[in-house]
């Protein structure tokens, strides 16, 4: 048996900073304070610490995620965790799945296979309880000398200033103060930091209530995602069944607009619903029950001077399509290298504006996708319901209609089209590796062993060079790809590469420039642009 991350209590420890007032010194100054040790805050703090930036990570609790919450972690998120050095443990524990079934009324409408394209290290998704993700990240964080996690440290005041931001922190031993150059709020949908600064996340609130029940059972249900529209056991609503590790199944019941959350949470209400789905003879125990609503919202700006917002504090989405935690981890991925460059004096403070611009753009894309799924699952007008049902009826017989069924689209990272950090193409390229795109993975043969392309990228910018052309005076680390290394030719195809083609990749593995011929001056100019210089 591994550690029980659901019940794990993390120790509050007194920090030396708390004695500053008693010692007559001013509040301690730190380069970065991250608020919230959820998946987003942990990702950001680990990434910064790996880059040699000292980080204080504050969390108001001393527990990991209460309940399984986010359970679908997408390929790109796993690649980011790989870059941080903790992906494999998560993948080993997680449940991989490819098959999905969609039911309408009494019948199977169709089934689908996510059929992830082969030649990628990571699957399209794994299912894993959020407390495992947080627990594994926290375990990793605890090994990093630059990372100081302080549990039971609740932010009670934030005063941004020109020279530093002052943060008041409440602990079991009373209040103390810290100063920092940058404060990053990763403190969730009800962000305390956002509230303290009088800022809002605005958008569309959905009134439908949903019931999550995590059920433990050893029944022989297949490892598939089952989605029911209007099933006989829960008329006029939708239901989702999804497998997690440890024989735990996520069941999500749409309850409608008038459901009373307190009543619906009671086991004597929940258990009959589950029985109706599973059948009378399946033994199960309830692990966790929650009733929720959601809003698709975002802050107008993710940056307010020295205070930056990432994850649910900055933007909210519906749970359909696994875009909450995944997009938040991508926020952290985008911000960490920029903060590290700015703090290291290698880029101007204005580089952080590009964090806000790029991730606001990505949030809009995620909100659009999740709103569309919500409107399909939970139609808000009579006509919308009729078309929804017509689509589901046609889906039984016609492939075109299956593509209209939307029970949540595959969460894929945003391509940062139009970002000011990109250098527009001067040469002609085909394919999807446009400036702004996250680099695609591919298998490589290196020194007679199998490896993955993304695994060969370091934490800095990388110049990816195809073929044998000489590359001199390159301002960034070079990764040369020879035909022998790309033995299956997949990397060459995915990057539409010819001998001599070079790509400049950002530290977060997004493409920022590419050329058919290496030119050190062009690479330097693109590098300056990507660093906001």
């Amino acid at each position: 048996m591994g550690m029980d991350y659901q019940t794990l209590v993390l120790d509050y420890r007194r920090a030396a900073d708390q004695d500053a007032a008693r010692n007559g010194t001013g509040p301690a100054m730190h380069p970065v304070i991250v608020v919230g040790a959820g998946p987003v805050g942990l990702t950001l703090a680990i990434d910064l610490a790996n880059r040699g930036i000292p980080v204080v990570l504050l969390d108001d609790s001393n527990r990991l995620s209460n309940g399984s919450r986010a359970i679908c972690f997408a390929k790109r998120t796993l690649e980011i965790f790989d870059r941080l050095g903790c992906g494999q443990r998560l993948v080993d524990k997680g449940v991989s799945w490819n098959l999905g079934k969609v039911f309408f009324g009494d019948d199977l409408a169709y089934s689908f296979n996510l059929l992830p394209e082969s030649g990628h290290r990571r699957p399209a998704f794994i299912n894993l309880q959020q407390y495992y993700v947080e627990g594994y990240l926290a375990d990793h964080a605890a090994t990093l000398p630059h990372l100081d996690i302080r549990w039971l440290n609740r932010v009670a005041g934030v005063v941004p200033g020109a020279d530093f931001t002052e943060v008041a922190i409440d602990t079991p031993e009373g209040r103390y103060h810290l100063r920092c150059r940058y404060l990053v709020a990763c403190d969730g949908a009800r962000s305390g930091v956002r509230g303290l600064l009088g800022l809002e996340s605005k958008g569309r609130v959905f009134n439908d209530r949903f019931l999550i029940a995590d059920v433990k059972m050893t029944a022989a249900f297949p490892t598939e995602r089952w989605f029911w529209f209007d099933p006989p056991f829960h008329r006029n609503q939708s239901v989702l069944l999804h497998k997690q590790p440890d024989d735990v199944w996520r069941i999500d019941f749409q309850l409608g607009r008038d459901a009373d959350p307190e009543i619906e949470k009671q086991p004597d209400r929940v258990i009959p619903r589950i029985r109706a789905l599973l059948g009378a003879d399946v033994d199960f125990t309830l692990e966790w029950v929650s009733v929720y609503t959601f809003a698709c919202s975002r802050m107008e700006r993710f940056r307010h001077g020295p205070v930056l917002f990432a994850g649910d504090s900055a933007h909210g989405v519906s749970p359909f399509g696994a875009r909450g935690a995944n997009s938040g981890v991508q926020d952290a991925d985008n911000l960490a290298w920029k903060l590290a460059l700015v703090l290291g004096g290698d880029a101007p403070d204005s580089l952080l504006d590009s964090y806000a611009a790029e991730r606001e753009y990505a949030a809009d894309e995620n909100i659009l996708n999740s709103t569309r799924a919500t409107d399909f699952i939970s139609p808000t007008s009579h006509a919308s319901r009729v078309f929804r049902d017509a689509t589901l009826q046609l889906a039984k017989d016609y492939a075109f209609a299956r593509r209209l069924v939307n029970s949540g689209r595959l969460s894929v990272p945003a391509v940062l089209h139009g970002s000011g950090l990109n250098t527009p193409d001067a040469d002609v390229f085909a394919g999807s590796m446009v400036p702004g795109a996250p680099a695609a993975d591919a298998p490589l043969r290196i020194d007679g062993g199998d490896d993955w392309f993304l695994n060969r990228l370091g934490s800095d910018f990388t110049l990816l060079a195809f073929g044998e052309d000489p590359v001199t005076d390159c301002p960034v680390p070079l990764l040369r790809i020879t035909p022998t290394m790309d033995s299956q030719g997949l990397l060459t195809t995915r990057f539409d590469a010819l001998p001599g083609t070079v790509y400049l990749l950002r530290p977060d593995q997004h493409v920022c420039a590419r050329w058919r011929r290496y030119d050190p001056a062009a690479v330097q100019a693109a590098l300056n642009r990507a660093k906001g210089r």
């Binding site: 009729v386 078309f387 049902d389 017509a390 046609l394 016609y398 075109f400």
Partner: protein, 63 residues
């Protein structure tokens, strides 16, 4: 491509009769569902989003 609003039906009377015949004996609710299915089938046949958006706008205009 733009939406063709010039006469294009080879047999207009025949089409119209078939359209009405499709609804014969159906309740208003069933007719509504058949119409929705028909729109989805035809939309897929047309395929072009600009044409479809033009048709959506023209259908809605004046209502």
């Amino acid at each position: 491509m733009t939406l063709n609003t010039d006469p294009a039906l080879a047999e207009p009377d025949e089409f119209y009769a078939a359209l009405i015949e499709m609804h014969r004996g159906l309740s208003p609710k069933q007719s509504e569902m058949v119409n929705a299915r028909l729109i989805l089938l035809l939309a897929n046949h047309i395929g072009d989003l600009d044409v479809l958006k033009e048709a959506l706008a023209k259908a809605r205009a004046g209502i």
